[in-house]
């Protein structure tokens, strides 16, 4: 029997909440999830980008942002990211 809830249904329930997005590379984002599509391209608001480099972690604040789903690895609902 198929699982009772699909993974993307869970993400759908996060719309309007904070979410932590971990990319395939050394990059992470947190923001308020406004929406997403079948490719898990995501629209986020009040975004912080975290970039881990040999020189340390670099933070960038962003306005409303469309994040390409191509490089997304993991999503952590309800989390405000690495600093929380």
């Amino acid at each position: 029997m198929a699982s009772q809830i699909l993974p993307l249904e869970l993400i759908d329930r996060c719309i309007g909440s904070r979410i932590w997005v971990i990319m395939k590379g050394d990059r992470e984002f947190t923001g308020t999830l406004l929406g997403f599509d079948d490719f898990v391209n995501m629209v986020l608001e009040d975004v912080t980008e975290f970039e881990t480099t040999p020189q340390g972690r670099k933070k960038t604040q962003l306005n409303q942002t469309l994040l390409n789903g191509n490089n997304i690895c993991m999503l952590i609902p309800g989390s405000n990211g690495p600093d929380s």
Partner: protein
């Protein structure tokens, strides 16, 4: 980089979901809102392109006007118009309120 796939370009972004009566904050709605506005396009390489978004398609191919290329916060090039191939795009961010 991550995508050295043969000819077929990356899978198309989802077709605009059947528009519900209320704007849903979906990627399609976001894109409708930012066309004609100043945006930051960051590539997976970390290079930024700042300019006015003239249009884009379902592959996230982008046409930008008044484009500045930023590498590590330094302007490295300026282009009147620029076409950016969508597979390189990490994100498109509004540089002004939308």
């Amino acid at each position: 980089m991550d995508e050295s796939t043969p000819p077929p370009p990356p899978a198309e972004l989802s077709p605009p979901p059947v528009p519900s009566t209320v704007p849903s904050g979906s990627p399609t709605d976001f894109l409708k809102g930012v066309v004609g506005k100043r945006v930051v396009v960051r590539l997976t390489s970390g290079v930024d392109y700042r300019g006015v978004l003239s249009c884009l398609d379902g592959y996230m191919n982008i046409a930008l006007e008044q484009t500045e290329e930023h590498v590590n916060g330094v302007v490295t090039n300026r282009y009147g118009d620029a076409f950016i191939r969508g597979n390189n795009v990490l994100y498109i961010s509004a540089a002004e309120a939308i």
